[in-house]
């Protein structure tokens, strides 16, 4: 995911990569939220 973030920064990411990145970043936030919500 970090690799795609670098590509986004360098404006070389494809639309598909941005979509993948978005999904994975959203999942990461959700995982953090779920972990906090476990308690």
């Amino acid at each position: 995911m970090l690799e795609i973030a670098e590509k986004i920064k360098n404006k070389t990411a494809t639309e598909e990569e941005i979509l993948t990145f978005t999904k994975e970043f959203t999942k990461l936030l959700q995982d953090i939220k779920d972990t906090l919500g476990e308690e």
Binding site: L2, A5, E15, F25, T26, Q30, I32, T35
Partner: protein, 151 residues
């Protein structure tokens, strides 16, 4: 730039550059990928809205939770830093409120844990918003000319 706690300094006085309202509207309506953008923004805003008291209560109840959270926060922060740099390079207005700095992953004390988690969560909505704004500014530049309003 970091404050005394090592947390990112939020700079709110710089309002010279504003995000394009058209882009903001697109994000508001669900962005270029409505299926994921709404979920992403909802989750990000949910994290950003967590109060200090709530985070304190969760961590006090189970202090070992921080060990489970830290790797995820580290991954998130590494990405957020790159996104923040890109937002600044891209000239997106809200990037002026996003100055990474300090060691936000210093979870050595309960106080630092809570303060740093709050700082990390605060930039989550901006990170999501950036992804759509930046995509709009790059991938669609030939389809639709987008310009940022400048002072």
């Amino acid at each position: 730039m970091a404050n005394m706690n090592g947390a990112p300094e939020l700079i709110s006085q710089n309002t010279d550059i504003s995000p394009n309202p058209e882009v903001a509207l697109k994000v508001e309506k669900g962005g270029l990928y409505p299926d994921v953008s709404q979920d992403g923004m909802a989750t990000a805003e949910s994290l950003a809205s967590m109060s200090k008291e709530k985070i304190e209560a969760i961590l006090e109840k189970n202090p070992s939770l921080i060990q489970k959270l830290t790797p995820m926060l580290k991954k998130y922060w590494n990405i957020a830093q790159v996104i923040g740099e890109a937002a600044i390079i891209g000239g997106l207005g809200y990037a002026t409120q996003w100055k990474p700095g300090g060691d936000l992953l210093d979870m050595s004390t309960p106080t630092k844990q809570v303060e740093n988690i709050i700082c990390l969560f605060a930039i989550a909505p901006m990170a999501i918003k950036f992804i759509y704004d930046f995509n709009n500014l790059t991938n669609n530049k030939d389809k639709k000319k987008v310009t940022l309003a400048k002072a």
